[in-house]
């Protein structure tokens, strides 16, 4: 007997006392919790996002389309970046004023090579106000998962209000599980020393979020 059959057999014997529930899943598990917490205007939801991002030590900026290239340029300069990673579908105008050398996200690049790059600029798939979270889904303006991981400085542009939702349930509705997803809430952190939060371990230690309207 294979272990698969053995385990499934054990499960079935273990559940001998259980009458299978043939109702549709939605009926079998009622959900009385909220779809979002509190009522807010779109503007207030964006405010909440900004507040919660900052609460977990992301640096929040606001910009419009015209100003964005200069903001990106300034942020890269302030960080002293020589090289910046760009995903293939990043709107070229975002980088149009930036000085650093653009490194394109190529499959053949080694992790060691990416480790020499100072910064990365990406878009995002959705941002969650209640938790201060941005989610990347590997779309062309976000690139492979590793490019937002290895460089120490991540600039993430969120289109507001279109990409902003209030809550976790609303975010999951928008996301495609077939894509590789990375949920980011502030820069890398740890609570492993005396259960107290310290920012900055393996992921980017500086996370700058630009709310683009």
């Amino acid at each position: 007997m294979s272990s698969r059959e053995r385990i499934l057999g054990r499960v079935r014997r273990a559940l001998a006392d259980v009458t299978p529930d043939e109702r549709p899943y939605a009926e079998a598990v009622p959900r009385d919790y909220l779809r979002e917490h509190g009522a807010r205007t779109t503007e207030q939801t964006v405010e909440l996002l900004a507040g919660n991002l900052a609460d977990y030590r992301a640096i929040v900026h606001r910009s419009d389309a015209e100003e964005l290239p200069y903001l990106v340029m300034r942020l890269l300069n302030q960080h002293g970046s020589q090289e910046v990673l760009v995903p293939p579908g990043l709107p070229p105008e975002w980088m149009s004023a930036a000085d650093p050398v653009r490194i394109h996200d190529r499959a053949v690049s080694t992790a060691q090579r990416l480790d020499q790059v100072d910064s990365v600029v990406t878009g995002c798939a959705v941002a969650i106000a209640e938790t201060g979270t941005i989610v990347l889904d590997g779309s062309p303006d976000q690139g492979r998962r590793r490019i937002s991981l290895i460089p120490d400085h991540h600039i993430c542009v969120v289109r507001v209000p279109d990409q902003v939702v209030s809550s976790v349930p609303q975010a999951l509705e928008r996301l495609d599980p077939a894509r590789p997803l990375t949920w980011i809430s502030g820069p890398s952190a740890t609570s492993d020393i005396e259960l107290d939060r310290v920012e900055g371990v393996h992921g980017p230690r500086t996370l700058e979020v630009v709310l683009l309207s």
């Binding site: 499960v11 529930d21 909220l34 977990y56 492979r144 998962r145 997803l181 949920w183 371990v201 992921g203």
Partner: protein, 492 residues
């Protein structure tokens, strides 16, 4: 090596050592009290917490009650998405599968994301026997691995270490494993985190094989979810060419939507955050992004035995948040090592004796490692009634009875060492169902009360070693009542 729990003494003896260690008690007290208050604030932010908790309980219960169906569905989804599913009935089989998969890549080192399941099966030790070095990359796991120590907490395995101890471990051990710690390393948490970053980075960048567990597996989509903070998880899940995930069969949720419950309750319960810094979700493999090969090893190792117990199966709802550890007054004083398992604290006290059985001294003692205060149940985000299961397992220890071990029905004999207690319980039951006998006993106690010491010899020292006995009154209440009808006849 020191990283094993085999041959642990019973809980009270193991707790004795922790109680005598002032540094350890201080570390645990500081850490658990810090997180307790933060968790309470994080939970209070959501006014639908009770509804989320109830939904979490129901999702998990429903899944467990139809686990065969969801396991098969998960296997299909993962396979369709490009993954390979393996089934492991016990620890040895899981270790063998993983070792073979690693050897097939030709690699002799792997990087690991913190995973309770791989700790439970002793994967690192098993891989080492096959000549494969497994590097733990979670900061606390790194501290444990470098210190040749054992984990003492589910979320923060090195909770028993304070910052000065961590600095000393880093200074003396990092060089043995790779990049040494900076010579001028202080005990500032930010510096310690930086030292870990530098030490591990070279390992991440060259790693070809990653090993992880998972917090959730979604049956309908085949998606796996890892919830973490530091980014070591992202490194291990995305940089290597081969990813092997070892996951307990109880980690399934039926639908994508179910994550909306647990992604709200887990971070707030574990690290007391609105959301943890990083959550990775992947479904099989993705062309050009992340590992090209993905293996999922589904682990039983006592879970189906636990599932067979109608009262005890609720322990399988656990999402490993560790809120129960952080509020537990016994854990706070005894420390995690006393539980003799990778699962310490209240959840460990009900999980270990079910996964491993109650045959060993430590496992038979764990159900008693609780005052039944109920704080664990109160904070559990999936409403596991831990006190109920503890009492149920006490019953199994003292009475024996039917149970399932390795898939087979067995009849357990009552544990040894409870004969005197059993006799006392029977005698008390006899007296309590015969009030006349009870009354004779009370009167005898009252008549001889001046002879009663405030401390006791022999086994009675368990009480009177630290506590005086109450004085026996001149007469029991029932005699007063009978004499006076409750004072109604004017006599006092």
């Amino acid at each position: 090596m020191s990283g094993t729990f085999v041959g642990m003494p019973a809980f009270p003896k193991a707790a004795h050592d922790a109680l005598g260690n002032a540094t350890l008690r201080g570390n645990l007290r500081h850490a658990t009290h810090t997180i307790r208050a933060k968790r309470a604030r994080a939970v209070a932010e959501l006014d639908d917490w009770a509804a989320l908790r109830e939904a979490g309980r129901r999702i998990k219960d429903h899944t467990l009650r139809h686990l065969d169906r969801y396991l098969v569905q998960l296997e299909e989804s993962v396979t369709a998405a490009g993954g390979t599913v393996h089934w492991a009935a016990d620890a040895d089989e899981a270790n063998r599968i993983v070792a073979e998969l690693v050897k097939a890549t030709g690699e002799s080192e792997v990087v690991k994301v913190k995973s309770m399941a791989t700790q439970e099966i002793g994967l690192n030790e098993a891989l080492l026997e096959e000549g494969i070095h497994a590097y733990e990359t979670d900061l606390a796991e790194l501290i444990v691995q470098l210190g040749e120590d054992r984990p003492s907490h589910i979320l923060v395995p090195a909770i028993h270490r304070n910052r000065r101890e961590i600095r000393d471990i880093f200074r003396s051990q990092m060089g043995e494993w790779g990049r040494p710690a900076p010579e001028d390393l202080t005990d500032a948490p930010a510096e310690l985190a930086e030292a870990a970053r530098l030490h591990l980075r070279e390992k991440f960048l060259r790693a070809r094989v990653g090993i992880s567990g998972a917090n959730f597996m979604v049956a309908e989509t085949g998606t796996l979810v890892v919830v973490e903070s530091e980014g070591n998880g992202r490194m291990c899940l995305t940089l290597p060419e081969t990813l092997i995930s070892v996951v307990g069969i109880e980690k399934i949720v039926p639908t994508w939507r179910d994550l909306e419950v647990f992604l709200q309750t887990l971070p707030r319960s574990s690290t007391a955050e609105r959301m943890n810094p990083y959550t990775s979700m992947w479904t099989g493999t993705t062309d050009g992004d992340g590992p090209r090969t993905f293996h999922l090893v589904l682990l039983d190792n006592g879970r189906t035995d636990t599932l067979a117990d109608q009262v005890g199966r609720q322990a399988l709802r656990c999402i490993r948040c560790s809120a129960c550890l952080n509020v537990c007054p016994v854990y706070e004083r005894a420390g995690g090592h006393a539980y003799g398992s990778v699962y310490p604290g209240p959840i460990g006290a009900i999980l270990s004796p079910q996964l491993r059985g109650t045959a060993s001294e430590i496992d038979a003692s764990l159900p008693y490692a609780s005052s039944l205060c109920g704080a664990c149940y109160e904070v559990c985000p999936v409403a596991i009634d831990i006190p109920e299961v503890l009492v149920h397992l006490r019953e199994r220890v003292v009475e024996g009875g039917p149970a399932v071990r390795q898939g087979n029905k067995v009849m357990l004999r009552p544990a040894k060492g409870h004969a005197a207690e059993r006799a006392a319980m029977r005698a008390a039951r006899w007296a309590f169902t015969r009030p006349a006998a009870l009354r004779s006993g009370q009167r005898l106690a009252s008549r001889t009360r001046r002879l009663h010491p405030r401390t006791l010899p022999g086994p009675g020292r368990a009480w009177s070693g630290t506590r005086d006995l109450p004085a026996v009154p001149a007469e029991p209440f029932r005699d007063w009542w009978q004499r006076t009808r409750g004072g109604k006849d004017g006599t006092k």
